[in-house]
Structures are given as structure tokens and as C-alpha cells.
């Protein structure tokens, strides 16, 4: 190929990586639905799904099959094109973020250095933010196109909630970025190498605990999960923005939510919990070949992600839902000032330590 | 034909003219506002092209400031449009011709 001056092996490598990541996030999202039911069952002293397969492990497949075979209903007075576009956008933005995540360290195979990151762009976090800020379109357009007042109310709620909490999220991240000095996800992970260095933890969680708490709260709101699941508040809005949806379009919306949960767990693990780093990784690296070491690192990241997902679920089944005004008050009057103070304090500390 | 500064000049000019046409053609205040955003973006595009040609970061910072001003402008402008809608229950700018009579 004359036009594209890229070697074929590189393209094949990236295509394989992209498909593995896509399949992986779909698989994790699928079993997140199962885990959610099991967790809720355990917390409410029930059994949960146990019919399809051992421990109900085939339940997600059965659910998917059911959604596939359901009748597809498009409301008569809806805007058809936008109605179909809504769930597609939700799914697209949910899967796009995984492109800049570093899933593991580089390893060499057959003389090639293979990177476990689809694209190492120097503005990785901003890319994540851009995609997250686009995520609201799926919900807004779907809710509006349904031509149903409850859907519309729900989508307006979702949009205002997302915009409000994106602010606090961004400001809390600025404090973190001032410490890392780089916006590339790869650099941020490399800086958190290992667990303990020079007498202090390397993970950003120990350097930015306040920022972490703000970021976590905001990601609950961005995911519109309990206690901030106002867009799906069934006691006020019947069901939410996907009320008029049926069949696989509904499936896309529900599924996109779980993919979002997976991705935001991955982002939180990468930014605050060292990504694929784990304690004593240098000793392990010396002991095993690079390919296996990369696999262990991916496993460490996955363990962190699963931990985060479980945390999201525990919170959902423990805390009651906020009221809408409480949600807005929390975002604008507590989190944003707190994030600003955190940013100022971080800046001051950096200034003082730099002068020494 | 390799891409030159003239290409970007014409593209930006075309987008700007489309913005002007939209402003003159439409009566919906929100669409007119959107056309103004389009014109601002056409200018931004040209500034980035110049920054690329002369390898100068200043033009990109101008784009940054234009975005800042546009965001502030949208916040106030949309508030004005919402207020107007509350008063006259329409976003048609032709209703706002009381000074004529």
C-alpha cells in the first residue's frame, strides 16, 4: 500500500488488540449484570438467579436471547431516525473510551514490542473526558425522540446531572494532573510503578485522597447509578429515558450502562490505584518471561476493576436515592468548592516542595 | 494537488459564508445563534491553519480564547433566549419588532 505507510503486522496487532478489548468489555459487562443480581440477592437475603446453568451463570445469555427475540416496537409519533440513533450513540460512546486505556505493560514477542494499549495519545485523559461528555447525547436524543413526557423529563435530568458533575470531576482531576505533570494515561501508570518507593506509596490514591473521593462521587453521578440514579427513578418517572424502547435497543441502553461501569472502574483503577501495577512487581518481572509478566499485570488490573465494580454494586444496594435538589446541591455547593480547595492546596504543596 | 494555505482559506471562508447565510435566512433565534457559533468555528479553523503554516503557537492560543469567549457568550445568550421565550412564547425573532410600531 502506497497511501498508508504502515506495516501490516502493526495493523494486525492493533486489530487483534481492539477485538480482544471489545469482547472483553462486553463479556465483563455481561457478567456484571449477573453479579449485580447476585450481589443484590445476597444483600437482601435472597438466592438470586440460579436456574440457568450452575449458579445461574448462563442467566446473562438467557436475558440476551430474550431481548433479541422480543418484538421491536417503534412508537408511532416518535422521530424514527433519532429514536434508533439514541441507543447506537450510547453504545458507541461506552466502548470508545477503552482505546486509550493501558491494559498492561509492553512485552516482546517474536522480536516485536507489543503494546497493550490501542493508542498512546499524549492527551489521553482529555480524550476520556471528551467521550464522556458525548455520552449524554445517547440518553438525551433517545429520551427526546420517544415523544413521551417521562422520557423527556428523564433525559433532561440525565443531561443536567452529567454536565453538573463533569465540572467537579474535571477540577478534581486537575489536582491529580498537577502532580503527574502528564495527560498521557501511559505516563500516569508508569509513574505509579510498584507500590512503595522512596518511603511513600506510589499510587495516586495515597497522594490525592480527596480528589479520589470527589472523582468517585462524580463517576457515580455520570453513570447515573444509585444513589444518583435520578434519570431512572421509577417512582417518579415510571422507568426513565428508555421507557419506549423494546427489544435489543433497550438491551443496548442497559448494556451500555454496564460497559460504562466497567470502563469507569478501569479509569479509576488506572488513575488512582496504579493501573496494572502491583506490589513487588519488580521481583516478579525478574522471575518470569515478559509475556507472562504482562498477563499477570493485566490480571492485576482486572482484579482492581472487579473490586471497583463490586464496590459500585454494594453502594447501589445500600444507599437510598437522593432527591433531585439534593443531588444538584451536592454537586454545585459541596463538590465543586471542595475540588477547588483541593486543587489550591495541591498547587500550594507542589510550590513549596519545588522550592526546596 | 498538495494542500496549501489557500485551501484552508477557502474552506474557512465557505463555512463563514454559510454561517452568514443562515443568520440572514432563518427566523429561529436559536438557529441564528448556532450559525454565529459556526462562524466562530470557521475563524478558529483558519487560525489553526496559520499556526501550522508559520509554526507559531500564538494562533492556537487565540483559538483557545475564542472558545472561552464563545462559551461565555452561549451561557448568556441562551439565558436571554429562554427569557424571551418566557415572555412571548416563541423564539421567532420577527415577533420582537415592537420598536417599529
Amino acid at each position: 500500500m502506497l497511501l498508508l505507510n504502515i506495516d501490516a503486522a502493526f495493523v494486525i496487532e492493533k486489530v487483534i488488540l481492539i477485538s480482544v478489548i471489545l469482547m472483553g468489555s462486553l463479556g465483563v459487562a455481561m457478567y456484571a449484570t449477573w453479579a449485580e443480581r447476585k450481589v443484590s440477592a445476597v444483600m437482601q437475603d435472597r438466592v438470586g438467579p440460579n436456574r440457568a446453568g450452575p449458579f445461574g451463570l448462563l442467566q446473562p445469555l438467557a436475558d440476551g436471547l430474550k431481548l433479541f427475540f422480543k418484538e421491536e416496537i417503534i412508537p408511532d409519533r416518535s422521530t424514527q431516525f433519532i429514536f434508533i440513533l439514541g441507543p447506537c450513540l450510547a453504545m458507541l460512546t461506552a466502548t470508545m473510551t477503552s482505546a486509550v486505556m493501558p491494559w498492561g505493560p509492553d512485552f516482546t514477542m517474536a522480536g516485536r514490542t507489543i503494546s497493550l494499549q490501542v493508542a498512546d495519545i499524549n492527551i489521553g485523559i482529555l480524550f476520556v473526558f471528551g467521550v464522556v461528555s458525548l455520552g449524554v447525547y445517547g440518553v438525551m436524543l433517545g429520551g427526546w425522540a420517544s415523544n413521551n413526557k417521562f422520557s423527556l423529563l428523564s433525559s433532561i435530568r440525565a443531561a443536567s446531572q452529567c454536565i453538573s458533575y463533569e465540572l467537579a470531576m474535571g477540577i478534581s482531576l486537575i489536582a491529580l494532573l498537577m502532580m503527574t505533570g502528564s495527560l498521557s494515561m501511559k505516563d500516569i501508570v508508569t509513574q505509579q510503578h510498584g507500590f512503595w518507593k522512596d518511603g511513600y506509596f506510589t499510587w495516586n490514591f495515597f497522594k490525592q485522597p480527596v480528589g479520589f473521593i470527589i472523582f468517585l462521587t462524580c463517576s457515580f453521578a455520570e453513570l447515573s447509578r444509585a444513589p444518583f440514579d435520578l434519570p431512572e427513578c421509577d417512582s417518579e418517572l415510571n422507568m426513565g429515558y428508555h421507557q419506549e424502547y423494546s427489544s435489543m435497543k433497550l438491551g443496548f441502553y442497559l448494556f451500555a450502562e454496564y460497559i460504562n461501569m466497567f470502563i469507569s472502574s478501569a479509569v479509576i483503577s488506572t488513575l488512582f490505584f496504579g493501573g496494572y501495577n502491583f506490589p513487588f512487581m519488580d521481583q516478579v518481572q525478574a522471575a518470569v518471561p515478559s509475556g507472562i509478566f504482562s498477563l499477570i499485570c493485566v490480571g492485576a488490573l482486572m482484579a482492581k476493576i472487579v473490586g471497583m465494580i463490586l464496590f459500585f454494586m454494594f453502594v447501589r444496594w445500600t444507599l437510598p436515592r437522593f432527591r433531585y435538589d439534593q443531588l444538584m446541591k451536592l454537586g454545585w455547593r459541596s463538590l465543586i468548592p471542595l475540588a477547588l480547595i483541593n486543587m489550591l492546596v495541591t498547587g500550594g504543596v507542589i510550590l513549596l516542595t519545588m522550592k526546596k | 494537488m498538495p494542500v496549501s494555505s489557500t485551501h484552508y482559506l477557502f474552506l474557512s471562508l465557505l463555512l463563514f459564508s454559510i454561517g452568514i447565510m443562515g443568520t440572514l435566512m432563518r427566523r429561529n433565534a436559536i438557529i441564528i445563534f448556532m450559525c454565529i457559533e459556526l462562524m466562530l468555528n470557521a475563524v478558529n479553523l483558519l487560525l489553526v491553519a496559520f499556526s501550522k503554516i508559520y509554526s507559531d503557537a500564538d494562533a492556537q492560543l487565540f483559538v483557545f480564547f475564542i472558545m472561552v469567549v464563545a462559551a461565555a457568550e452561549v451561557a448568556v445568550g441562551l439565558a436571554v433566549i429562554v427569557m424571551m421565550y418566557r415572555k412571548v412564547h416563541s423564539v421567532d425573532i420577527n415577533i420582537l419588532n415592537r420598536l417599529k410600531h
Binding site: N122, I163 | L11, A49, V63
Partner: protein, 175 residues
């Protein structure tokens, strides 16, 4: 044609086509979506010119915040093609002619402009570290002033958007 030119023509066609869609579609929601696509095309141009930071900021600020606000307002007012006000044919024609005249006049003025080839190789002036250095040294005063502008715009929007205090006796009339 090299890959740069192909991408340039594709993105330009997308930008111009979607910009025409903004002004020609009757439904305001469609206009908003066309404008978002235009912004994406312009962001694509930025990436082509190695201004990655501006490309992402363009998407975050315009597509992610400003257009959401527009969509929000349109949804709140429940505007659709049926209530969309239309100007008369003559006025629309006048608009097109004046816009086209502007295009032609500036085009004629630009024909003698010096044409500089765009270097398709990547440069690092658009990187965030580079932009940040210039922003916080040479342009630090405009930067601070723009933050004051933001604050005043925020207060202004709140003041304008606030519901006026209606005396209790008048409330029934308005309902």
C-alpha cells in the same frame, strides 16, 4: 493524492455538507446534530494539523457542553418542524445572495494571497506542554481576564434566567 489530501477533502466535504444541513433542515434538533457533525469535521482538521489539544478541547467544549445546552433549550421549549418559523422566499433568497456576495468578494480579494504549502509532517507546537508554556508566560494576563469574563458571564446568566419575584396577589393572573 497522498493521505493528507484525501483526509482534507473528506473532512472539508463533511464540514461544508453538515454546515449546509444546519441552515437548511427545518427541525431544530436536526440542525443541532448537523452542527455537532460540523464540529467533529473541524476537530478532524485540527488533528490533521497536529493541534490535538485544540481538537479535544473543541469536542469537549463545543460538542460536549455548548451543543448539549442548545439541545437542552430546544427540548425544553419543545421546538419541532411544525412550529418552526419560516421566512418568505424573497427574504431567504436575499440572504443567500448577500452571503454569496460576501463569499465572492472575499474570494476575489484572496486570489492574490500568497499560497503556502502545508507541511504534512507532524510538529509539536500543538502539544499541550508547548501551548501551556506560551499561555502561562506571554498570555497570562488575557488568561486571567478570561476567567473573570467567565465568572461575570455565569453571574449574568443566573441573573437573567432567574424568575422575577411575582407579588403574591398577581400570581393567580399569570396562571
Amino acid at each position: 493524492m497522498d493521505i493528507y489530501s484525501i483526509l482534507f477533502w473528506f473532512l472539508s466535504a463533511m464540514a461544508v455538507g453538515c454546515a449546509l444541513g444546519v441552515i437548511l433542515s427545518r427541525n431544530p434538533v436536526n440542525s443541532v446534530m448537523f452542527l455537532i457533525l460540523t464540529f467533529f469535521a473541524i476537530s478532524g482538521h485540527y488533528i490533521l494539523m497536529n493541534a490535538q489539544f485544540l481538537a479535544v478541547v473543541n469536542i469537549i467544549v463545543y460538542a460536549g457542553a455548548i451543543m448539549v445546552l442548545f439541545l437542552f433549550v430546544i427540548m425544553l421549549m419543545n421546538l419541532n418542524a411544525d412550529v418552526e418559523p419560516q421566512k418568505g422566499m424573497m427574504i431567504q433568497l436575499a440572504g443567500v445572495i448577500s452571503g454569496g456576495t460576501l463569499f465572492l468578494v472575499v474570494l476575489m480579494g484572496l486570489t492574490t494571497a500568497k499560497s503556502e504549502l502545508i507541511d504534512p509532517r507532524s510538529s509539536d507546537i500543538g502539544l499541550i506542554s508547548n501551548l501551556g508554556k506560551v499561555l502561562f508566560t506571554r498570555y497570562v494576563l488575557p488568561f486571567e481576564i478570561s476567567s473573570v469574563l467567565f465568572l461575570s458571564a455565569m453571574i449574568g446568566a443566573v441573573v437573567i434566567g432567574k424568575k422575577e419575584n411575582i407579588p403574591a396577589s398577581d400570581k393567580t393572573e399569570i396562571v
